[in-house]
Amino acid sequence: MSQEKFPLVDRTEPNLLEEIFDYSLPPKIRFDGPVVEYIDGKPVEFDPQALRTRDIFITDTTFRDGQQARPPYTVEQMVHIYDLLAKLGGPNGVIRQTEFFLYTTNDRRTLDRCRELGHRYPECTGWIRADKGDFRLVREAGLKETGILTSCSDYHIFHKLKFKNRRECLEAYCAIVDAAFEAGVRPRCHLEDITRADIDGFVLPYCERLMRMSEQVPEELSVKIRLCDTMGFGVSYPGAELPRSVPKLIYKLNREVGVPSHRLEWHGHNDFHKVHTNAVTAWLYGCDALNSTLFGFGERTGNPPLEGAIIEYISLKGDLCGIQTQVITELADYMRSIGLPIPDNYPFVGRAFNVTRAGIHAGGLRQDERIYNIFDTTALLGRPPRVSITDKTGADGVALWVNEYFGLKGAERINKIKVHKIARWVNDQYELHGRMTSISDEELEAKVKEYLPEYWEKYKGKAAS
């Protein structure tokens, strides 16, 4: 008999791969070898395992790019959001910086109020146009760092900014950087539209010049570079060519031009649904800072979602690193309360992100919530897995809903036989009455009171009275 190529490894106990899927954390992202990318025809190795020890971090632009996509926040709202960002990112500065406009009285008052909270992180930085006079605003605000627009594609250089040639553009940008140095402010050059730029013809010479200029100033003033994928053209796929390749962009700036990882930042947009993966890819290939906004809210299709970066950070590090994940839910509740629309199916915070409508999934959840829940969402997000009742949910779903409603665990849990009258009522809503919407929690509460009066009295009676 021929030997099987893939013999069955029979077991009587399940192998739940808990070294990866430790339910108490977002599942770990582990690597088992180097990543190889061919650049200029030569294989280049990247070590993804270094992510565990590298000081990668998240920066926030909720108040700048995020605010460009909506009516302005009030001062109070921004101060509250800033406070929650500090709580979420924790004492290790996983959320390292956030940037503020500086142009209006409200902008400056907000900045002052945020700093008065006394949080070490996120550090407050500014954002100004590439105008020498604007450094006065940065200096007066007492900020050590500001972002400045230095667009780098010919779309911007020629068609938007109307420079006569690239040389004139480069010199103008360098003059702004010099002005920043003179003002004692660290410039963070935002290379707008880099994924549509001539990398060899403009980006690399410009960045090389910035690095040379930085050698003349103290380290704390040296230029940072933000790679802005303004139109979301970046791609993460190995082998993709420049200027769209995120790996190659990072490599060129980091290893060929010599911009240190801690002075590189990726800022993406979601026009092609690639925003989160592109940002994490930048981390992977040597860029330490991932710029993001809360719930991805930003110009047009938005930016890398900050909370997605937080979960990814934990998955890569294999540890919470001081992050308070439950604040993600707190932030979502707050943003909803001030009118930010969050789709129901949005990961981690949408109302339905861990709510099943399928009876077969409800059955699985009832047996062991790990079967259909991504991680311990109760502990990490304050959101137990739930079931939304429709004609597809069946008695399994009703039983799960009732048990969650009463907060019953283990042997206390009610089986689906006991909820058969509610399940029948639900079924009839659709079969006899032609209902097209899901059953609300309020309707179910009323039915629980009617059909399970003994449980109602035991678990809700005292609280209700």
């Binding site: 009876g359 069946g394 008695a395 089986n415 689906k416 036989i417 006991k418 058969h420 399940a423 029948r424 079924n427």
Partner: protein
Amino acid sequence: MSDVAERVKKVTARVLRLDPAQIKLEHHFTTDLGAESVQSVELVAMFEEEFGIEMDEDAALAVQSVGEAVEFITKVCKEQGVEV
């Protein structure tokens, strides 16, 4: 036919809205008698009520035919000291 079988058929007929005379011991609840998911749960609940017993949910729902239900309920009644 035993009393248990008669009572099982009666309950089945009531829940599935069938004529008791048409129900045979070899009939499967789902394939022959058309029991849908919620009706299967209702059947178990009604059997419990009829006989004054409590059945293990998974074991009860694994029963497929009327005859198997008669056997299963007889066994549970005996275990729980219910005379039938």
